[in-house]
C-alpha cells in the first residue's frame, strides 16, 4: 500500500463532504480527483482509464430518453389515469400507485419516478383529507424496491451490471421475484399499521362528490399540455426498442450503454426536438459525480487499498458461502442507509471481486447480494437514497413536512423486512446452487 495515505485521506474527505452535503456531489468528487492530479498521485491519462464509460453512457442515454418522454406528456397521462382508476379509495391509491411506481422505477431512474408520482399523489390524498405523508413515504420506499429489479432501475445496478458484465436479463431473472415479494410485504406492512386510514368511502356521498371534483381538478392541472400523439408514439416506440435491445443483449452483443445512447440519438433525430433545451434536462452533475468517483476508487484500487480492505475486513468472515453472502447483503444494506449507495457500490465492486477470487460463489449470487443490499438499504433512512430526499423535498414544496423520524418510523421496519426476505431468497438460491 505504498503511497496510499494521500488517496485514502482525500477519499475519506470526499465521503464526509458527500454524507453531510457540504458541497455539491460532483464538485466534491472532482475536487478530490483534482487534488490527487495536482499532487501527481496519478496522471490525467491514468485517471481517464479508471472511468467506466459503459456506466456513463447508460446513464446519459437513459436520462435523454426519459427527458424526451417527459416532454411528451406520457407520464402525466399515466398518473392521471391511475388517479381516476382509484376513484378515491385509499387502499386503491396505495396499491395502484405503488404498482406504477414499481414498474416505472424498474425502467426509469427512481428520482424521475418520484418526480412524476409524488405531486399527483399529494394532490389526491391532501385533497381528500387523507394524510399525504404516509403515501409519499410509501412511494419513495416502493421506488427504491422497484428499481432493484432491473439493470437500469437503480444506479448500484447500473454500476454492477456495467463493471461486472451482467446482462439486463440476468438482473430480471434473478431479482424480479424477490423484489415482487418485498413490494407485497412492504404494502401489507403499510396497510396493517394504518388500517384506520384505508376505510372505503363508497357509503359517503359527500366524500365521493369531493373525490370526483378533485379528479376534475387533477385532470385540469396535470393534463394542461396539449398531447402531440405522433411525438408520444415515437417516444414510446423508442422506449420499447430500448427494452427489446436490453432483453436481447446476449444475441445482439450490444451493451446497455450503447443501446441507451443509440436509442436516445434516434429519438433526438425523429422527434426533431430542441436538442439544446433537452440537453439542459440531463443531470450533468450526476454524470460528473460518477466520473469523479470512478477515478477515486480506481486510484485506491491501484494503490492496493481495496485489496487490503477485502482481506482484512470482508475475508475475515471465513469461507462459509452463506456467511459471505449474508455479510455482503447486510453490510451493504446498513451502509447504504447512511451513506450514498453509489460511491459505496463503486467501492464494493473490487472488494467483491477479490472475495470471489478466493471463495467462488456460483450464479453471481454475491453480486445479487450486493445489488439487493445497496438498493434495499437505501430505504433505511431519509438520506439513504436520492429518491427519498427528492420525495421529501417535493412534499415540503406542497406544504407537507416529513421529518427524519417520520420517515424512519415507516422505513426502518420495511427495510429490515425486505432485507430478511432478501436473506431468505439468497440463502435458498445458494442452497440450490451448491
Amino acid at each position: 500500500m505504498e503511497g496510499a495515505l494521500l488517496p485514502i485521506v482525500v477519499f475519506l474527505a470526499v465521503y464526509v463532504a458527500l454524507t453531510f452535503e457540504l458541497v455539491n456531489k460532483a464538485v466534491a468528487a472532482l475536487l478530490g480527483v483534482m487534488i490527487l492530479l495536482v499532487l501527481h498521485v496519478v496522471s490525467e491519462h491514468q485517471a481517464v482509464e479508471f472511468i467506466d464509460f459503459e456506466t456513463i453512457m447508460l446513464l446519459l442515454g437513459m436520462m435523454s430518453i426519459v427527458a424526451i418522454l417527459r416532454k411528451s406528456g406520457f407520464f402525466s397521462i399515466v398518473s392521471v389515469r391511475i388517479a381516476e382508476m382509484t376513484q378515491g379509495s385509499p387502499l386503491k391509491i396505495l396499491i395502484l400507485f405503488s404498482i406504477v411506481t414499481a414498474v416505472l422505477s424498474a425502467f426509469l431512474d427512481n428520482v424521475t419516478t418520484v418526480l412524476i408520482i409524488i405531486p399527483i399523489i399529494i394532490e389526491l390524498t391532501a385533497g381528500m383529507g387523507l394524510d399525504p405523508k404516509m403515501f409519499v413515504i410509501s412511494q419513495a420506499i416502493i421506488s427504491n424496491i422497484g428499481g432493484t429489479a432491473t439493470l437500469i432501475g437503480d444506479p448500484p445496478n447500473i454500476i454492477i451490471g456495467s463493471k461486472v458484465g451482467l446482462t439486463f436479463n440476468q438482473f430480471m431473472l434473478n431479482l424480479t421475484l424477490p423484489v415482487m415479494v418485498c413490494i407485497a410485504a412492504a404494502l401489507v406492512y403499510i396497510w396493517a399499521t394504518n388500517r384506520d386510514k384505508f376505510k372505503p368511502i363508497d357509503t359517503n356521498l359527500a366524500k365521493l362528490f369531493s373525490v370526483q371534483l378533485l379528479l376534475e381538478k387533477i385532470r385540469y392541472h396535470f393534463l394542461d399540455t396539449k398531447i402531440d400523439k405522433l411525438f408520444l408514439t415515437k417516444g414510446l416506440v423508442c422506449l420499447g426498442l430500448a427494452i427489446v435491445l436490453f432483453v436481447t443483449q446476449t444475441i445482439t452483443k450490444l451493451s446497455p450503454g450503447v443501446v441507451a445512447v443509440f436509442v436516445a440519438m434516434i429519438l433526438f433525430v425523429i422527434t426533431r426536438i430542441d436538442v439544446e433545451a433537452m440537453l439542459e434536462e440531463i443531470e450533468w452533475s450526476t454524470l460528473l459525480f460518477f466520473t469523479g468517483l470512478f477515478i477515486l476508487v480506481g486510484i485506491l484500487e491501484e494503490k492496493g487499498v481495496i485489496e487490503w480492505l477485502a482481506e482484512n475486513i470482508f475475508m475475515r468472515v471465513g469461507d462459509n458461502p452463506y456467511v459471505i453472502v449474508l455479510t455482503v447483503l447486510w453490510v451493504s444494506g446498513i451502509a447504504s442507509g447512511f451513506l450514498d449507495n453509489i460511491p459505496f457500490t463503486i467501492t464494493m465492486i473490487p472488494i467483491v471481486k477479490l472475495m470471489l477470487e478466493s471463495n467462488p460463489i456460483p450464479n453471481n449470487i454475491l453480486w445479487w447480494a450486493l445489488s439487493l443490499g445497496a438498493c434495499l438499504g437505501g430505504n433505511l433512512t431519509m438520506i439513504g437514497a436520492s429518491a427519498n430526499i427528492v420525495s421529501i423535498g417535493m412534499a415540503k414544496k406542497f406544504g407537507q413536512e416529513i421529518s427524519f423520524l417520520d420517515f424512519a418510523r415507516k422505513s426502518v421496519v420495511i427495510t429490515l423486512i425486505t432485507l430478511v426476505i432478501a436473506s431468505g431468497y439468497l440463502t435458498l438460491y445458494l442452497w440450490i446452487s451448491l
Binding site: G129, D202, L205, L208, F209, K217, Y220, K226
Partner: protein
C-alpha cells in the same frame, strides 16, 4: 356530514372556481354529483337524506357559487318524494335531473360565448385580468375559427391562475403581452376594451368578481375604457352582496425577522354601474340597458329565482 368533509368540499369548490370560473365549476360539480350518485352504496331510506345533506353543503360554500346553487335548488324541487320507488329508480331519476341541469348550464354558457364573439373586432387590444375558462375559449374561437386579428394584454397576478391563460392564448397563436396587474396604468392607452367574468351579480347590483378586478375596473372606468362583463343569467343572485360569503383567509407569514398576519379575500365587489356591456345568453346589454335594468323596481325571475333579463 363531518365538518372536516364539509371544509374539504368547500375548499375544492373555491379553488376550482378560482381557476376555471363559476360556470365551469358548476358543470364540474354537477358531473361530480352524478358520478357520486352512481357510486354510492346506501339503503333506500338513506338516499334522500344523503342528497339533501350534500345539496346543503354545496349551497353553503364560501363563497357561494350562485349558478350551482340555482341548479341544485331546481334539483331539490324536481327530485320530490316517491315513497314506493326503489333505490335504483331514485338514483336514475336524480341522475336524469342532474343531466338536464348540466345541459342547461352548457347551453347558457355556449350562448354567452356566441354573443361574446360579436364583441371582438379586428385590431382590438383587449385587456384581460382573470377571465374564466369559457371566456378564454371564446378568445381562442375568435382567433382560430373566425380568424380575427386582435391583441390581448394579460394582467399577470397569481401565476398559477395566469399560467393556464397564457398557455391557452399562446397555443391559439393569439398576440399577447403579459404585464403585472399593478402596471396597467402604463398600458391603459393601448387597450380599447376590458373583458371580465363574474362569480355572480347580486340583488344590490354588485358584481362579485376575481380578486384584483375592482382596482382594474375602476381604473379602466375612469379612463373611459369600455368594460365587458360576461355572465349567464344563472349568475344573477336574489341575495345582496353582503350574503355572498366572500372567503376571508388569514395566513401567518414570516419574511426574515418580520412576522405578520396576511389577510386575503377570495373575490372583489365591483359596482355594476362601472360595467359598459353585459353579455348574457339573451344578448348584449349596453350601459343604458344596464342602468334601466338597475333602476327597474321589481326584476322578473324564472322558476329557479334567477333574474330574467
Amino acid at each position: 356530514m363531518k365538518t372536516e368533509d364539509r371544509e374539504i368540499l368547500c375548499s375544492l369548490i373555491r379553488d376550482h372556481e378560482d381557476t376555471v370560473g363559476s360556470s365551469r365549476v358548476t358543470m364540474m360539480a354537477i358531473k361530480a354529483f352524478i358520478e357520486s350518485i352512481k357510486q354510492v352504496r346506501c339503503r333506500v331510506e338513506e338516499v334522500r337524506e344523503l342528497y339533501s345533506e350534500l345539496s346543503e353543503a354545496i349551497k353553503n360554500t364560501e363563497p357561494k357559487v350562485i349558478p350551482l346553487i340555482h341548479l341544485i335548488e331546481e334539483f331539490e324541487k324536481e327530485i320530490g318524494e316517491a315513497p314506493d320507488a326503489s333505490i335504483d329508480q331514485i338514483k336514475d331519476q336524480a341522475i336524469r335531473i342532474l343531466e338536464e341541469k348540466h345541459h342547461k348550464i352548457i347551453t347558457k354558457t355556449g350562448k354567452v360565448i356566441e354573443h361574446g364573439l360579436t364583441c371582438i373586432s379586428e385590431g382590438d387590444v383587449i385587456i384581460v385580468h382573470t377571465i374564466s375558462y369559457d371566456v378564454t375559449n371564446m378568445l381562442k374561437l375568435a382567433k382560430e375559427v373566425l380568424q380575427k386579428t386582435f391583441k390581448v394584454i394579460v394582467l399577470k397576478q397569481d401565476l398559477a391562475k395566469t399560467r393556464r391563460l397564457i398557455k391557452s392564448l399562446s397555443a391559439a397563436g393569439i398576440d399577447m403581452e403579459i404585464i403585472p396587474e399593478y402596471s396597467l396604468n402604463h398600458y391603459i392607452d393601448q387597450g380599447n376594451k376590458v373583458f371580465m367574468g363574474a362569480l355572480s351579480i347580486t340583488e344590490d347590483m354588485k358584481v362579485i368578481s376575481a380578486i384584483g378586478s375592482a382596482n382594474i375596473v375602476s381604473l379602466c372606468h375612469l379612463s373611459n375604457l369600455p368594460v365587458y362583463l360576461f355572465a349567464n343569467t344563472l349568475k344573477f343572485s336574489h341575495r345582496p352582496s353582503s350574503q355572498q360569503r366572500i372567503h376571508r383567509k388569514v395566513e401567518s407569514k414570516t419574511h426574515g425577522d418580520l412576522s405578520f398576519q396576511l389577510i386575503t379575500h377570495s373575490h372583489d365587489t365591483v359596482d355594476l354601474k362601472q360595467v359598459d356591456f353585459l353579455i348574457t345568453e339573451d344578448g348584449i346589454m349596453d350601459k343604458t340597458a344596464i342602468s334601466e335594468f338597475i333602476k327597474a323596481p321589481g326584476k322578473k325571475r324564472d322558476s329557479s329565482g334567477s333574474i330574467v333579463v
